[in-house]
């Protein structure tokens, strides 16, 4: 028994943290927003990407961390990638790191034995030359986004949104029983306004012309791959949410020790202390759930989906709590877009609901526990 990251994992994580601190600060985040005004500054015209951070991550081999050796990757596991996503969250990195290095790799590994296209994409991920989006879409081909949570614990939360879509090389589209490889240029993408501009979000309708030429996986193989990929997507978001929470709390603690009212630091007030302790408590007890789920995914534990849902439910709730406490303790300054807090707070709002919100994942758990 040893419930902690290995020395190598701790070291890798520290290196990525340093790299992101250098390449993905608040200025770079604002530059990823299409609109300078809502970003609270920056040049405007961003496309949901931080190119400096992405190329540094690619150069370090982070994108190929889970790619098999045969395709030039590091052949490591979810247990190695998830800690890095904690750091991506901390930095507020908007780029499709979880989508490319985790979700897409999971899908493509399922397809690689029979699909030369999958092998080729894995190799391109490993070299860092492509970025991919992954969508668990509503196959009814309507405009609706929906939640299907009544069947069993194996369901996925669907949505037809994809962030930074125009910057992507390919999109992997998971439907009920097929997984397709789609060129974003072939989709009718409609830019929508996410509260978090750095996500540069697009909506699309599943195109009618999907078929054998686009399909990477079909039938039971597609379902298994989709479930595994969805689990990674949810867990990746959970890890980013923990990182975001830690970032917001760090900022807030710093502010509460600097800001004075009534002649003293506001962090000395018990009401402020208790807000921040409560927020921190939720984060501290959610993170072990995230790390355990990473271990379960890496080992193919039959309870992995359950563990992922426990982690995502608690990480989403913890991040919402951390955001609320951070805003409240900052007061009016936190309510402005010139101040950096909103960059991280808005991401946490977005990710809290992405790939299943608290309610969705709690229901995956209760379905399993109570057999309902």
């Amino acid at each position: 028994m040893r419930f902690a990251l290995t020395e190598d994992q701790v070291e890798f994580r520290a290196v990525v943290r340093g790299l992101l601190a250098d390449t993905c600060g608040p200025d770079e985040l604002r530059a990823a927003w299409p609109d300078a005004e809502t970003a609270g500054g920056g040049p405007g015209g961003g496309n949901g990407r931080v190119p400096g951070a992405w190329s540094a991550l690619a150069e370090m081999g982070v994108l190929g961390i889970m790619v098999p050796e045969a395709q030039g990757g590091l052949a490591m596991t979810e247990e190695d990638l998830i800690p890095l996503l904690l750091e991506a969250g901390w930095a507020g990195l908007p780029d499709p790191l979880a989508a490319t290095a985790g979700v897409a790799v999971t899908l493509l590994r399922h397809a690689s034995s029979s699909e030369p296209r999958a092998q080729e994409l894995l190799a391109q991920i490993a070299t860092g030359e492509i970025s991919l989006g992954c969508v668990f879409a509503n196959s009814s081909r309507s405009n609706s986004t929906g939640l299907e949570s009544t069947e069993s614990a194996s369901v996925v939360a669907v949505s037809n949104f994809v962030p930074a879509a125009t910057s992507l090389d390919q999109i992997l589209l998971c439907l009920d029983d097929s997984v397709h490889l789609v060129d974003p240029a072939s989709l009718h993408l409609e830019r929508v306004q996410s509260v978090d501009g750095a996500r540069d979000l697009f909506h699309f309708v599943v195109p009618a012309e999907l078929g054998e030429s686009t399909a990477l996986l079909t039938g039971a193989a597609a379902q298994a791959a989709t479930l595994a990929a969805f689990d990674f997507a949810a867990l990746g978001a959970a890890a980013e949410l923990i990182g975001l929470s830690r970032r917001m709390l760090e900022m807030t603690i710093l502010y509460a020790t600097e800001r004075k009212q009534f002649g003293v630091q506001i962090g000395s007030f018990q009401a402020v202390k208790h807000h921040l302790t409560n927020a921190s408590l939720a984060v501290e007890f959610a993170e072990p759930l995230v790390l355990r789920a990473a271990n379960s995914l890496a080992l193919g534990n039959p309870q992995a989906s359950l563990h992922v849902s426990m982690a995502k439910a608690k990480a989403s709730a913890a991040a919402k709590g951390a955001a609320a406490a951070s805003l409240q303790v900052h007061g009016a300054i936190g309510y402005t877009v010139e101040y950096d807090l909103h960059l991280y707070m808005k991401r946490s709002w977005a990710l809290a609901g992405e790939f299943g919100d608290v309610e969705f994942h709690r229901r995956r758990v209760s379905a399993e526990l109570l057999a309902i």
Partner: protein, 390 residues
């Protein structure tokens, strides 16, 4: 990360499980916080001790098995899984023993620890006083030096002493420097509750059991410890005179202490909650109730994982320090929540004096004792998050 148990740990689990399954009394014992229930629990403690299951993580010489912290966790998991009785010896084992291990002389360790593990001596704590609760440094009970007689004379009052009416020893802080204030000038005493100069008055707790006591000291004489059983049976001092605060605080975050409150207990409660929800499904369980059950169950798992991570740290030499306040807040509030959800499931039956209502009332004491959760939140804020004290 390796979330599996070794062969020897699995063997330990098998041994513990088989012993517990054939020894844990059925039906379960009445509350150990009543006079008759306490006697039955004492019998149980003697049976545990006879087969070296009372304090598995202690050295063999003191009645333990030299078990690792991991094995201790395994034992606790099995203990609560089979519904083992409440441990009426726990205040001694979790609160006093870590202090004896750290500050006791060899003679004190040899004398007190085996008697504690075999439930010959039963210890209650004497921290709180009528005017010293959360503000423990406001202690006024005092010990006056009697040089001629060679010892100390204790006077004052302790209160909220759990199972004080059934125990024969108390440990606590007494002011030995009459000029001192606050954290200074206190000494950590071990005090017999029998004989001239001590009066114990039991009174009812919220749950109706007579588990509380107040203890009055009126010139109780404690002779200087000369290292022999003859003096130690009459009590003594742990650590240095006037250094009692430091002695008491040194082990508050001890991994042997209350802070690593066994996850097995809450997982067992969470499992019973899930069973109850399944039983009630015939009555039509609302999605809201199912969600509440799932949420509380996830928290029990989270506590267990948090503990595994803490124990990994301790095993590798990282002190838990103030982080242990996180544990106390979380497990005590989790325990309340598990019972609240169960009572919600029971609906109109909730008010009946059944195990869930009993357990609820017991759980409600968690956020109060061993440092209220308000105090614990201050500790986290100041010593973990780094917020300013004033």
């Amino acid at each position: 990360m390796d979330l599996t148990w070794s062969e020897s740990e699995e063997a330990f689990r098998t041994e513990a499980r088989s012993w517990l399954e054939s020894n844990v009394p059925t039906p379960s014992l009445p509350s150990g916080d009543t006079k008759e229930g306490f006697a039955l629990h004492l019998e149980w403690e003697h049976r545990l001790a006879a087969d070296q299951w009372a304090v598995v993580s202690w050295p063999k010489a003191f009645g333990g098995r030299d078990a690792s912290l991991w094995e201790w966790l395994i034992f606790e998991e099995e203990y609560y899984r089979v519904g083992g009785p409440q441990r009426v010896t726990q205040n001694g084992i979790f609160l006093l023993a870590p202090t004896i291990f750290e500050f006791g002389t060899a003679a004190q360790q040899d004398y007190y620890l085996p008697r504690m593990s075999s439930a010959v001596d039963l210890w209650c704590q004497g921290w709180s006083e009528p005017n010293a609760g959360s503000d423990l440094a406001a202690v006024r009970s005092k010990a006056t030096r009697d040089e001629a007689a060679g010892g100390w004379r204790l006077s004052g009052q302790k209160t909220w002493t759990t199972r004080g009416a059934f125990c024969n020893y108390l440990f606590g802080l007494f002011r030995t420097d009459p000029e001192s204030e606050r954290h200074k000038g206190m000494t950590y005493f071990m005090v017999p509750l029998e004989g001239d100069g001590v009066t114990v008055r039991g009174f009812g707790r919220l749950d109706g059991d007579e588990g509380f006591a107040e203890v009055f000291f009126d010139d109780l004489f404690i002779p200087d410890d000369d290292g022999t059983p003859d003096t130690m049976v009459r009590g003594g001092i742990l650590g240095e005179v006037n250094q009692g605060w430091g002695v008491a605080m040194a082990t508050t975050s001890s991994e042997r202490g209350l802070t690593l409150r066994s996850p097995g207990r809450f997982q067992a409660t969470a499992t019973r909650l899930v069973d109850l929800a399944r039983e009630r499904m015939g009555d039509g369980l609302s999605q809201q109730m199912a969600d509440a059950v799932a949420d509380a169950w996830i928290d029990a798992e989270a506590y267990s994982l948090f503990t595994l991570s803490d124990v990994t740290g301790v095993v590798e030499g990282v002190s838990m320090g103030a982080r242990s306040s996180y544990n106390k807040i979380f497990w005590s509030e989790l325990d309340v929540r598990l019972h609240e959800v169960a009572l919600d499931l029971l609906g109109a039956e909730a008010e009946l004096d059944g195990p869930w209502m009993k357990g609820y009332q017991f759980a409600l004491s968690g956020p109060i004792y061993a440092g209220t959760n308000e105090i614990q939140r201050n500790i986290v804020a100041e010593r973990v998050l780094g917020l300013p004290r004033k």
